[in-house]
């Protein structure tokens, strides 16, 4: 299997629609090149031939109505043709096949959440896609406009609050998930994604702002330009397995003795809990996790509970159900984590209360 190559202008074609879009791109490109060469060529030639020099006198132009009409009408035919071609590709790209897998995508300020069939919600900002199978993405946004863009698939669509939008694609190649440290370690059009493995980048292309100092797992301030996700094209079997089990622990934790704790710590980082919760007891917009497990929690507006399994689970899935006293200023967004993931977070919390 040869690795698909991009060109100087376009990234590799990794979806079924990409070659069609690229053909269209190159058609316009070559038409443009011809026009550009003819126009600039004529211009440079005239500039040389009719440059001002002693004795050179300009001639008064005559009428050339035929010529005028020719260069008004000729481009028209060309443009009708271009439109026709572009429209066909577009229509093809906008109607999803019936057997497509539906993935719901929720965009929120600076994160992507992917919900696969059966309600399986993966880690934030990780998009697993089965190879050679059409995928329809149904998008919504919980705050402002965002836009989902996967360059290698040539797809893009805005996520608009208050409305559903959709797009579809069919990936044609597995992603090369080799290990990496920087983007340059990865094959063309890949980025060095989470856990130090390569993946295809998914960008947010509709401007969505920057907050004051909320940081992502890499310690960078999150904003429109960091609202990226990893697209990982996996085999159809692996995708089936994923749908049945929910997201698996990351490779660096798998098999180790304290797998759950390790996984929980990793979830703490990649899901952005780190942005609000500290684990060392320091103050922040949200209660620290140090010593949280098993403690007595007092709620805003009265009531209290012990921080046990059920309480933690509820705090993650429905944070607004009980608000901890003194923490009304910031709202924690609900996170839809799988049972195994919540177990992992609880295991990690327990290590913080020993």
């Amino acid at each position: 299997m040869t690795e698909p190559q991009g060109t100087v202008q376009l990234p590799p074609q990794l979806s079924t629609i990409a070659p069609e879009v690229d053909d269209m791109y190159y058609l316009i490109y070559w038409i443009s090149v011809v026009f550009f060469v003819v126009i600039t060529g004529a211009m440079l030639y005239f500039m040389y031939k009719y440059r001002r020099r002693p004795g050179r006198k300009a001639k008064a132009p005559g009428h050339a109505t035929a010529l005028e009409i020719a260069w008004t009408v000729a481009p028209l035919f060309l443009l009708v043709y271009l439109f026709h071609m572009g429209f066909q590709t577009y229509i093809h790209g906008s109607v999803a096949p019936d057997d497509a897998v539906d993935v719901r995508v929720r965009a929120m300020q600076w994160n992507w959440e992917f919900e696969h069939p059966g309600g399986v919600i993966d880690e934030m900002n990780l998009f697993k896609v089965p190879v050679n199978k059409p995928v329809r993405v149904i998008m919504s946004s919980s705050d402002v406009l965002h836009s989902l863009f996967i360059p290698a698939f040539r797809v893009k669509r805005d996520a608009v609050p208050g409305m559903y939008t959709s797009l579809w694609f069919e990936a044609t190649e597995l992603t090369d998930d080799r290990e990496c440290e920087v983007d340059a370690d990865c094959p063309e059009a890949h980025q060095c994604g989470r856990n130090g493995t390569c993946a295809l980048p998914l960008f947010c292309t509709e401007y969505c702002g920057a907050p004051q100092n909320i940081q992502d797992s890499a310690g960078r301030n999150t904003n429109h330009s960091t609202m990226m996700a990893d697209v990982r094209v996996i085999t159809q079997e692996a995708y089936q397995e994923f749908l049945e089990l929910g997201p698996p622990p990351p490779p660096e934790c798998e098999g180790s003795d304290d797998m759950m704790e390790c996984w929980g710590e990793q979830l703490y980082a990649v899901n952005g809990c780190v942005g609000c919760h500290s684990v060392d007891g320091s103050a922040g917009p949200a209660p620290t996790w140090q010593g949280l497990w098993g403690a007595q929690r007092a709620f805003d507006g009265g009531g209290s509970a012990v921080a046990d399994e059920n309480y933690i689970r509820e705090s993650i899935l429905q944070p607004q159900a009980n608000i901890v006293e003194g923490y009304t200023a910031v709202n924690m967004p609900p996170y839809r984590l799988s049972d195994r993931q919540i177990d992992a977070i609880i295991a990690y919390m327990q290590t913080l209360s020993e």
Binding site: A58, L79, Y90, F149, K156, T205
Partner: protein, 561 residues
């Protein structure tokens, strides 16, 4: 009594201490409260240059931040404010008033042989409203600044910081300045033409400005009402654009682009208008297909109203609407093409001089063609899906706005500088700065086409490592560009301080504006001229009319012969 232009040339005594609009009255007040369109034009010129400088500084900050990945000189939220201000200043405070309000004000009445625009007081009011709007913009910058992008998309803008209100108010007010200028020019072109200037003799500069005025009057109010609704949304939460209150954010985009697409023709038509004058003068030839070129301006103005949806192909608009907008978008290529072809045809059999204004004129043709042709990639549905909101779009619009309009503006500035100031400038330096600007521009923005088609999104503070080399090239180009402008600022400053006196018609042009004295008489022409020929009828001009030195030298030469 009237003077028949075409037989007579400017009286020679005017340039020697004769009365001109600069010396006619003195003192700050005589400028701030002047009703003279030339002075108002000059004040606009100074204002837009200051704004260009401000916007340019912001651009250099943007490019410097993007030099390296991660934080280079500022944080992400500062970056967002800087590019927003760059876009907003360049669009609302610089490019829209640049050619029409500055050069249009100065030359439109002169080219019509009129004493002034139809409503001089309204003209002054437009300028003051512009100043007033600028104050609001400054308040917005100082009061925490705006980070919405120049498009103010809802719901982000409806929720963002309240200084957005100041910025939108600024744009609202500036809009009215632009509308009133348009109203004024329309009445002037229709009613103030000197005897002999019928529609077929109208300079193409005026055709262009006229078409622009029509768009200004018909499109700008829609922006005004849109921004007003946005302000209402922010203050009263009326529930029209904010989905949380039952509004529709896509409706905002329709409204915004209904103005802002025609607005791109408000930007380009005046640039094209200047280029007509440059090409004709420096090839000493009538513009080929005059009537087609004139009508293509009008066609662009009208077609420009029908294509706004091409900015929204990915927004969730219906398939049917996207199809219609794409089809209509292709139509605008036709009149643009007509212009390009006719300019090139004008060069044919001309006598072409490469004086600095012409260098800008010729560059315009090349750069606008690139910018326009890349517009077709964006107008095509399937390719736009890939290219939308990437650096490809950024490169496209800088090619048309900078390579097009700004080059046209600079060409006009070099071309009319002697007439406006009465001083010549250092031609050699002018060519050096042209070269730097031309090279710097292409390096800056050509690299962005490649980044964009490779998938680099716009309005990004950070990027993947693979884009690093191209971003560096782009920033390097921007520094060359900046250097070019510094040379240019120096050469104009030098010209003002110690430039040679300019003769009435240094470029040997047949254009009407060169028939008056330099700098022009307070009433443009001492007496109302009667035009006997068109502004490009080089073949009908006498040697005396096309004399590019001082009139008395011509007398001397004739006497010797």
């Amino acid at each position: 009594m009237t003077v028949e232009a075409g037989t007579a040339v400017p009286s020679g005594d005017a340039h020697e201490g004769g009365d001109n609009y600069l010396t006619h009255e003195t003192g700050l007040k005589s400028w701030l409260f002047t009703l003279d369109h030339k002075r108002i034009g000059l004040m606009y010129l100074v204002s837009v240059l200051v704004m260009f400088f401000l916007g340019g500084v912001m651009a250099l900050l943007v490019r410097t931040e993007l030099l390296f990945n991660g934080e280079t000189i500022m944080e992400a939220d500062t970056y967002n404010k800087v590019f927003t201000l760059h876009g907003a200043i360049m669009v609302f405070l610089f490019i829209i008033p640049s050619v029409p309000a500055a050069m249009g004000n100065f030359f439109l009445p002169i080219m019509l042989g009129a004493k002034d625009v139809a409503f001089p007081r309204l003209n002054l009011a437009s300028f003051w409203i512009y100043g007033f709007g600028t104050i609001f913009a400054i308040v917005a910058i100082v009061a925490g600044s705006v980070d919405t992008g120049w498009t103010f998309y809802t719901p982000y803008s409806a929720r963002a910081d309240s200084s957005v209100i100041w910025m939108t108010l600024a744009a609202f007010i500036l809009g009215f300045s632009s509308i009133l200028t348009g109203v004024n020019f329309i009445a002037t072109v229709h009613k103030m033409r000197a005897p002999g200037i019928h529609w077929k003799r109208l300079p193409l500069f005026i055709w262009g400005i006229y078409a622009t005025s029509v768009i200004q009057v018909l499109a700008t109010p829609v922006l005004a009402i849109t921004l007003l609704l946005l302000i209402m949304e922010k203050t009263l939460t009326i529930g029209i654009f904010d989905p949380a209150l039952g509004g529709d954010p896509v409706l905002y985009q329709h409204f915004f682009w209904f103005y802002s697409h025609p607005a791109v023709y408000i930007m380009i038509l005046p640039g094209m208008a200047v280029v007509n004058e440059l090409i004709a003068t420096f090839s000493q030839r009538k513009i080929f297909g005059y009537m087609f070129v004139a009508m293509s301006s009008v066609a662009l103005a009208l077609l420009g109203f029908l294509v706004w949806g091409h900015h929204m192909f990915t927004s969730g608009m219906s398939e049917y609407a996207t199809m219609v907008f794409s089809a209509l978008t292709f139509l605008v290529a036709i009149p643009s093409g007509v212009k390009v072809f006719n300019w090139v045809a004008t060069l044919y059999e001309g006598s072409i001089s490469f004086a600095s204004p012409m260098l800008y004129g010729l560059s315009f043709i090349v750069l606008f063609t690139i910018g326009g042709l890349t517009g077709l990639f964006l107008g095509t549905l399937s390719t736009d899906i890939h290219l939308h909101d990437t650096y490809f779009v950024v490169a496209h619009f800088h090619y048309v706005m900078v390579g097009g309009t700004v080059f046209g503006f600079l060409g006009g500035l070099h071309y009319w500088w002697p007439k406006m100031t009465g001083k010549m400038y250092d031609e050699k330096l002018a060519r050096v700065s042209w070269f730097l600007v031309f090279v710097g521009f292409n390096v800056t923005f050509f690299s962005q086409f490649i980044m964009g088609s490779q998938g680099m999104p716009r309005r990004y503070y950070d990027y993947l490592d693979q884009f690093q080399p191209l971003h560096m090239a782009s920033s390097g180009g921007a520094y060359i560009l900046g250097l070019g402008f510094i040379v240019m600022a120096y050469l104009f400053w030098k010209s003002l301080r110690s430039g040679e006196k300019a003769p009435p018609n240094p470029w040997a042009s047949a254009g009407y504006e060169w028939m008056t004295t330099t700098p022009p008489h307070p009433h443009n022409f001492a007496e109302t001229p009667v035009m006997k020929r068109g502004p490009y009828d080089y073949h009908l001009c006498t040697e005396e009319e096309l004399w590019d030195g001082f009139p008395e030298d011509f007398e001397a030469k004739k006497a010797k012969a």
